[in-house]
Amino acid sequence: MKVALFVTCLNDTAFPGTGQAVVRLLRRLGVDVDFPSAQTCCGQMHVNSGYVPEAIPVVRTFVDAFKGYDAVVTPSGSCAASVRHQHKIVAQRSGDPALVRGVEALSPRVYELSEFLVDVLGVVNVGAYFPHRVTLHPTCHSSRLLGVGDRPERLLRAVRGITLVELPQAEECCGFGGTFALKNSDVSVAMGSDKARHVRESGAEVLVAGDNSCLMHIGGLLTRERAGIRVMHLAEVLAATEAVE
């Protein structure tokens, strides 16, 4: 099986550690993951901001970069959901039947990390070690758009040494919402502050999620509040072992 990593533009630019964690994790599980360097972005920012025509070349680049792979894995529920639900809309808008066909063929082969691990590899215990108190924010796009269900939680429960604690009102949105965070920054911060309060109430040392966009928002509030709580991507927890690299 030829597997590609879609690292996402945000992780590529701001959180390369997450991409590196996916690479370490997948290699440990025997998957020789490739990084097609022609990749850029899923185009969600454009679509969700109302700029669908501007997303067409971005989606075309995505299809060209990944069409030769059996599976594409990405450490972002939100970007995976965009590929699965929005690329079709963008391709139709382009009026290019080849792009529509390309999207139809590729989209079902794109997996969010926890889906790829549980559904494609059939692994729940990934051999990780992480002796910390952790709480999980399920993220809206992972749970509501992709329907990943309890996959992230099952993966975390199988991590050796971990203490998983409950996040109050976990299902509630953190308020990031892409450009919503800027266009409606007051509401976004109000939602995020409640999320940060629930994270503090959980008693966790580390907040984990499958999307660095949400974590950037919640983490930005937590560090501003000097809450002493770290945020980490799910991939980084699952990649962690006793060996210090």
Binding site: D12, T61, R144, G177, V187
Partner: protein, 516 residues
């Protein structure tokens, strides 16, 4: 005594756009507490009674399918409805817009020489601002639903579809009753407390006078059954039943999307609506009436079938699903945005997620700033879609409408966002361009980022950093790391700091959560 005390019925027109109105609402901590308590209470009641039904998902599918059938054959069903209503002795009026509908109601009221009407709670008469039109024609419209009465007496605006006075607490209600009831009818007793039973008693005595006196009533309808010509109103307080049975003349203003084919279809909606709306298995009062029944109830029955933008919505392939809406308000009660800002910020009778799609479609996008801001008043979390009893994919329609808003502004001088989006699109169509941008970002990250975090940025990015730290761009992008280390195979497997969302390195496992 019959004239309203104030001459200016409150209106949503001219309210500031959502981000501005939301900021003001967020500053009101009493409002936020009221909303939080109320929405969470209804939310959990709804969850409990929905959980009870094994066939809830099938009911949702059936509800959506019935509505889609109606919308796909609307002309035929409406003609059938008109025929059934006429046969049953009702008079059918067609209104293209608010002005036409209001004029029909005014003309009927005038033909009976009345200067007042009693009203059943209705969203559509709020949409067409009927009360203001009646007032301008010298006719008082008395709201008889408790929450609508509170809103009207307070010269206020509704902020929720189901509980329009959700933004008021009981001591505010007491003050409004004491201050205002006497100006328009029977005053509240001077020793009125803020006990709910006492408040309800005061409202009952105040309203009783109006129920017994009114000759004309105005209602909406939750459903209109095409094959029998039956209108249906679903309510909790019994005030609707009073209005629908006591007066001599009944005028019902009904949006054309309210039609259902048969009574059998009602079975689906009478399960979906109360559970989604009040979180009850069944609502206390369900009134149905079919034209005129000689010697019983109103002897003159009018039905005003209203378009007011609905056919425009119907023409929108993605947006038309909004016409399935049965006004249950479940989407409001689960919406994290609504919960924090309340209904007024949406500047429309239809607040919350459904309002954010329905209002721009009914009004048309590209005309005013406040309307165009509505599709952006969402974090796209999808909680609304999850609870919608007729499966309206509100996030999908929001995104669709954002595109329409952007398209309506194309061709002029590009704003900052449009320039940024065009630039990003150019950058993201070639990975080499992205790599170049990342090298510049990486350099700036070295300058800006203290321990991988940026505490302050200039406008408009200050909207982020006013309350949140921002991650500094990584000194080395993932793609640069991959190229340098051959995907980590060449030994130098780890990266520089600033690589995780918290701005701290993560590739060791024994690091504590150090406060910064």
């Amino acid at each position: 005594m019959n004239k309203p005390a104030t001459s200016n019925t409150a209106t949503f027109l001219g309210m500031p756009p959502f981000p501005v109105a939301a900021r003001e609402a967020l500053a009101n901590s009493q409002l936020r507490r009221n909303l939080r308590h109320a929405t969470h209470t209804i939310r959990s009641k709804r969850a409990r009674v929905v959980e009870e039904l094994d066939d809830w998902e099938q009911l949702r599918l059936a509800g959506a399918a019935i509505k889609d059938d109606v919308l796909g054959n609307l002309g035929g069903y409406l003609e059938q409805l008109e025929e059934s209503l006429t046969r049953a002795g009702a008079t059918v009026h067609w209104a293209r817009d608010a002005a036409e509908a209001n004029q029909v109601v005014i003309d009927i009221a005038r033909s009976h020489k009345v200067d007042e009407v009693v009203k059943v709670k209705s969203m559509v008469t709020g949409e067409i601002e009927l009360n203001a039109a009646l007032e301008a024609a010298g006719i008082s419209a008395w709201e008889t639903d408790l929450a609508e009465l509170i809103v009207q007496l307070g010269n206020d605006l509704p902020s929720h579809i189901l509980v329009p006075a959700i933004h008021r607490n009981r001591s505010e209600v007491r003050d409004i009753f004491l201050r205002e009831m006497g100006k328009v009818g029977r005053p509240a007793e001077a020793d009125l407390t803020d006990e709910p039973a006492q408040l309800a008693g005061a409202a009952r005595r105040h309203l009783r006078e109006k129920f017994l006196r009114a000759k004309v009533a105005v209602s909406g309808a939750n459903f209109a059954v095409a094959d029998t010509g039956t209108l249906v109103v679903v309510e909790s307080e019994g005030n609707g039943r009073m209005c629908l049975t006591l007066p001599e003349v009944l005028i019902s203003v009904v949006g054309i999307e309210k039609v259902v084919p048969t009574w059998t279809d009602l079975e689906v909606f009478l399960q979906l609506l109360p559970r989604s709306s009040t979180g009850e298995r069944m609502n206390p009062y369900t009134s149905t009436w079919t034209g005129v029944t000689p010697g019983d109830g109103p002897q003159e029955v009018h039905v005003v079938l209203l378009d007011n933008g609905r056919t425009k919505v119907l023409a929108d392939e993605v947006g038309r699903q909004a016409l399935r809406c049965i006004r249950c308000s479940a989407c409001l009660n689960v919406c994290p945005v609504y919960e924090r800002v309340g209904g007024h910020a949406y500047g429309s009778i239809y607040p919350g997620p459904i309002g954010a799609i329905l209002t721009p479609m009914l009004r048309g996008v590209g005309t005013d700033e406040a309307t165009d801001a509505l599709p952006f008043a969402s974090s796209l979390c999808g909680a609304c879609y999850e609870v919608c009893p007729v499966l309206i994919d509100i996030p999908e329609v929001l995104v669709h409408l954002r595109g329409k808003v952007v398209d309506s502004h194309r061709g002029g001088v590009p704003g900052a966002l449009q320039a940024a989006m065009t630039g990003a699109s150019w950058t993201l169509r070639r990975s080499s361009r992205l790599a170049l941008a990342q090298r510049f970002a990486g350099l700036s990250g070295r300058v800006l980022g203290r321990r991988g975090l940026i505490g302050r940025m200039p406008p408009p990015l200050s909207r982020w950093t006013d309350a949140r730290d921002a991650p500094a761009p990584s000194r080395e992008s993932f793609r640069a790391w991959w190229a340098r280390t051959d995907g980590g195979r060449s030994g130098a497997g780890s990266t520089a700091a600033g690589s995780t969302a918290a701005g701290s390195p993560s590739d060791t496992t024994d690091e504590g959560g150090e406060p910064r």
